[in-house]
Structure formats: C-alpha cells, structure tokens
C-alpha cells in the first residue's frame, strides 16, 4: 500500500508541477500578446497612419503562429525528403503556394496587387543553390529561423543574426570583391545614371545589381502567354493555372512517384487491395493528407498572405501613399530614408531585407557610411528599427511563434553548443549571400514570387532544391561519421 501511495503521490506531484508550468506558459503567452497590443495601441495613439504598422505586425504574428503550429519550414521540405524520405512538408508548402496563388490572383485581377516580377536568369538558380546549402547547414530556412527563435531556440537566433549581419555587410562590401566583377558589369552599372550620392561602380552587389541583374528580363507566366497581368485571364489562367497549379501538381506527382508510391503500394498490397490507378490515386491523396497539421498551416498561410497584399494596398490607397517612407516623413521620423525618400515596404510577406536593414542601421550608427550603395541608399533605406514598419512583421512573427509554442507547452530556451553555433553561422551567412544575390529568401524570392506567377520564383526554387540536396549529402556523411565514432567507443554497440 505504501508503494502505491508513493507512486500516487509522485504522479500527483508531477501533474501539479505540469499544471504550474502550464499556467506560467499561459501567463507568458498573455504577456507577449499584451506587448504587441501595447505597441499597436501606442502607435495608433501617436498617429493614425501607424495602422500601416499594425497591418504588418499582426500579419507577421499570424505567420508566426502558423509556422510554429505547422512546423512549417522550407528547408525541412526538401531536406527531409532527401534525408529521411518524408514528403509531408513539400506537400504543405505546395498547398500554401497554391492557396496563396489563388488569393494573389484575386487581388491582382482586381488591380490591388503591389507585386512586381523580378529579373530572371542563371543568377536566380545560382542564388537559390547557395541559399539551399545554407538553409540545410543552418537547420532551417529564413522564415523557420524566425519561428524557431520564438520557440526559444538560440541556435536559430544565431542563424538570424548571421543572415542579417552578412547581408548588411555584403551589400556595401567592395575592396577585393570589386576584383571579382567583370568589366562589362562595371561599365553597365556606370551607364545607369544613378543619383550622385551613390557609388554604383564600387561594391560587388552594386555592380551585380546595376550591371547585370537589372539587364535581365522580367516575366510572369501571364506575360509569357501574352496576357495582361491585371486581367482575370492573365491572373487566373497565366499566373495561377500555368504558373502555379500545373508546376505544383507536377512537383507533387514527382514526389509521390519517387518518395511515397513504393511504400503506399506495399501497404496497399499487404491489405489485399488490388493494384492499379485507384491504388495510386489513394496513395497520392494519403500523401497530401499525411500531415493535417502542416496542411492546415499551409492553408491559413496561403489565405493570410493574399489578404496581407490586399490590406496593405488598401491602406496605401486610403492614405494616398506609395511607400511607407511617406508615413515616416509625415510623422517626422525620416532618418534613414533612401535617396528616393522610400524605405523597404514590400506590401506582402518578406523576411530578409528588413533583417539586413536592422544591422545596416546599427552599422551606420557605429560610423559605417553605408548609404552610398544601391540596396540601402537607393532602394530600402536604413530606418531606425523601431520605425521600420515592415520590420515589425519579423519581430511579431517571432512573437506569434512564441505564443503558439508556449500554449502548446513546446517553448524551451535552448543554449547552442559550439558545433551547432558554428553550423548556424556558416548556414546563416550562406543564406544571407543567397538572399542578396537572389533578391530575397525562401519567402520573398520563392514563395511570394511563385505564387504570383513570376518565372524567377521557380528558378530560385530549382537552385534551392539542388543546394538542399548537396547540404543533405554532406550532413548524412557527417552524421554517419559521428555515429561510427560513438559506436567504436562503446564495445556493446558492435551491432
């Protein structure tokens, strides 16, 4: 009886401590939400124009909740496919892309889209490749590093720092990097007649942008079919059906054929069911539904991303502005505006540019004159992070993820080991380089562009898949090497 009583007491004590931990987590979740409510209310009280900030902030919060809840990671999508043969995340991303494509097409067809296609070419694939290797090394893509930071994962926080610092430094880096620039790029950059405050022939990224990228063609699938983007035919047939649905379907068929079909047909046969088209159809559907959690997250992200575009464009029209720089000028916080008077204000979900701006601002305050380059000086500016309206989207994404993790008892503060910190720095740097060469990350250069029918999005994605494959090959070798060492050191593990 004593033993039973002791077990019962232990069980009660454990349940009690879990309840206390749960209550603490809920309290922290309320505090995080309270912080963002306070920022929103305070900003709105200061000026009505800050409703623009609130839009970015709360869409970021939704993205954070969805990413954490669905474990939504673009790196995991391709990495887990190649590393452990699991297709669930690729499926989730395809669902999100198709849903976003649908909502984006609605917005575009109604003339409310702020989206512009990016130049495409070999550079899109190369940039995606560098980014893809980086996201496997780092243990997550640019967006998942944000949500994992919200889970208390300090390795991801290091990744975030590494991406940000690398970008902020790279966009202004000249010196020996200038020697890598072909003469044709330099000449072309010089001929662009950019404002006198800029130095487009000094710095690798400047010459890469003005001397090469800007000379490349831009095209959506609607453009390729000769349809106007802002028409129902262009938006739905060109950009959505041909640009999103068909490639997405082809991707799912390939994933099913190579990674899911064999296992499904084996199971199907074991259950004594007849082979044939029905078996494959059932297998395809069960692959799509293999993780409801991820699929639901993809569904909400897809819809939210489209609504985000609509809301921002609506606010621009309501306030009669083209760019958030107009708001900063109106409220008197005009430090760090670009030479055109603008700041980074994509009008949709974006991750890496605002991260580069945070450190661009910091470097500038520390005495680095980094406003003569195209990235900061001409296009995005370096506003104070507190007044970086799009920047709040990333801060609140971390917050949304933290709230979700706290509510699900999954928040854990994790200190990085030296090994993981090293991979985080290397992976983050590669992602930073890939993001600047590709004009965006897995969200800005892939997710947003593919969903809007931009050809460059699929090229970046192609490179990203190749990079992820190489990264997985490396890590598989690394894991086996460490496992072999562990087993060699333990005589009872000679299996």
């Amino acid at each position: 009886m004593d033993q039973v009583a002791a077990i019962a007491a232990t069980g009660n004590a454990k349940a009690g401590s879990e309840a206390i931990a749960g209550r603490k987590n809920h309290l922290w979740a309320f505090l995080v939400v309270g912080f963002f409510v306070a920022v929103s209310v305070g900003a709105y009280a200061a000026n009505e124009l800050y409703v623009y900030l609130m839009a970015y902030l709360w869409f970021g919060f939704i993205y954070g909740m969805c990413l954490q809840g669905g474990r939504f990671c673009f790196s995991s999508a391709f990495r887990d496919l190649f590393a452990v043969g699991v297709p669930r995340m690729v499926v989730g991303i395809v669902i999100a892309t198709v849903l976003f494509g649908l909502t984006a097409s609605l917005v575009t067809a109604n003339g409310m889209s702020a989206f512009h296609a990016a130049p495409f070419g070999v550079h899109s694939v190369v940039a995606g490749f560098v980014f893809g290797v980086g996201m496997v090394f780092a243990g997550g893509c640019a967006s998942s590093s944000l949500y994992k930071t919200g889970e208390g994962n300090m390795v991801s926080a290091i990744v975030l720092l590494s991406i940000s610092v690398t970008q902020a430094a790279l966009v202004d880096a000249g010196g020996f990097l200038n020697k890598l620039v072909p003469d044709s790029w330099r000449a072309s950059a010089a001929a662009k007649n950019l404002p006198a405050s800029l130095t487009p022939t000094d710095g690798f990224v400047d010459q890469y942008l003005a001397g090469y990228v800007w000379n490349q063609p831009k095209a959506t699938f609607a453009d390729l079919l000769g349809l106007p983007n802002q028409s129902w035919a262009g938006a739905f047939v060109g950009n959505f059906l041909v640009g999103v649905v068909l490639p997405a379907l082809a991707m799912l068929v390939v994933v099913y054929a190579f990674w899911a079909r064999k296992g499904h047909l084996k199971k199907w046969k074991r259950e004594g069911k007849p082979a044939g088209f029905g078996a494959d159809l059932s297998g395809f559907w069960s692959m799509v539904m293999s993780s409801k959690r991820t699929a639901i997250a993809g569904l909400i992200i897809g819809i939210a991303a489209g609504l985000h575009m609509l809301v921002i464009e609506g606010l621009r029209r309501k306030f009669g502005i083209d760019n958030a720089g107009d708001i900063l000028k109106a409220v008197g916080h005009d430090f760090g505006l670009s030479v055109k008077g603008t700041v980074f204000d994509p009008g949709y979900w974006y991750v890496t540019t605002q991260e580069a701006q945070w450190f661009g601002w910091l470097f500038n305050k520390l005495g680095w004159n980094n406003t003569t380059n195209i990235f900061f000086g001409l296009e995005n500016g370096i506003p104070n992070p507190v007044f970086n309206l799009a920047g709040w989207m990333s801060i609140s994404l971390i917050g949304g993820a933290a709230v979700m993790a706290l509510l699900n008892n999954e928040f854990k503060f994790k200190k990085p080991t030296l090994e993981l910190a090293l991979w985080a720095v290397i992976g983050g740097s590669l992602m930073g380089v890939g993001a600047r060469l590709g004009l965006g990350c897995n969200v800005g250069a892939f997710f947003v562009r593919t969903a809007n029918g931009d050809t460059s999005g699929w090229l970046f994605g192609l490179g990203m898949v190749g990079g992820a494959y190489l990264g997985v090959k490396f890590f598989s070798w690394w894991t086996e090497r460490k496992m072999a060492k562990e087993m060699a050191a333990a005589p009872d593990l000679q299996l």
């Binding site: 879990e18 931990a21 474990r71 990671c73 790196s75 995991s76 990495r79 887990d80 590393a83 452990v84 043969g85 699991v86 669930r88 995340m89 496997v136 243990g139 997550g140 998942s144 994992k148 889970e151 208390g152 994962n153 390795v155 991801s156 899911a260 296992g263 293999s290 993780s291 959690r293 991820t294 993790a405 008892n409 999954e410 928040f411 854990k412 994790k414 200190k415 080991t417 993981l420 997985v472 890590f475 598989s476 894991t479 086996e480 460490k482 496992m483 562990e486 087993m487 333990a490 009872d492 593990l493 299996l495």
Partner: protein, 83 residues
C-alpha cells in the same frame, strides 16, 4: 551536449539528441534505427519540436511503431519499435 547512443539491455537502445536542432535529430534517429535489428526498441530523447513531425512521418513510412510519446516542458521521450 553531445549526441549519445547506447545499449541499455538486449534489444533496447537509447539515443539522446537533446540540444540538437534540425536536421540532426532525424538524421541520428534514422542512423540509429538502421543499425538496430527488427523488433529492437529505441528510447529517443530530443527537445527540438520540429524534428518530431519528421521522425513520426519517417516511422510511419518505414513501418516502425511509436509505442509511447511523452512531452515534458519542451522535451520529448519517444519509444520506437523497429519493424
């Protein structure tokens, strides 16, 4: 904290990958299971929530059975029987 793979008793192994982030927990789990015999059991300890979904899908795909899943303040203890 370093990864630890050890034999607890005949047919029962332990893999501790706490502190590791993606993709390490799933890669180590795959590697450990590949070295075990059918019917052996693995006690897996990890604290990277995102890896759980991948490991569960991997087990489902390969037919390995997850006998128990315990979550405690962001740490996970799963018992997996290799098919």
């Amino acid at each position: 904290m370093a990864m630890k793979f050890e034999k607890i008793s005949d047919g029962l192994y332990s893999l501790d990958v706490k502190g590791y982030v993606c993709p390490h927990p799933q890669l180590y789990t795959k590697s450990a299971l590949s070295k075990m015999k059918a019917g052996d059991t693995l006690q897996l300890l990890f604290d990277n929530a995102s890896s759980g979904e991948s490991i569960a899908s991997m087990c489902d795909k390969n037919g390995d059975e997850i006998l128990e899943q315990i979550t405690d303040a962001g740490s996970f203890k799963w018992t997996i029987k290799k098919c």
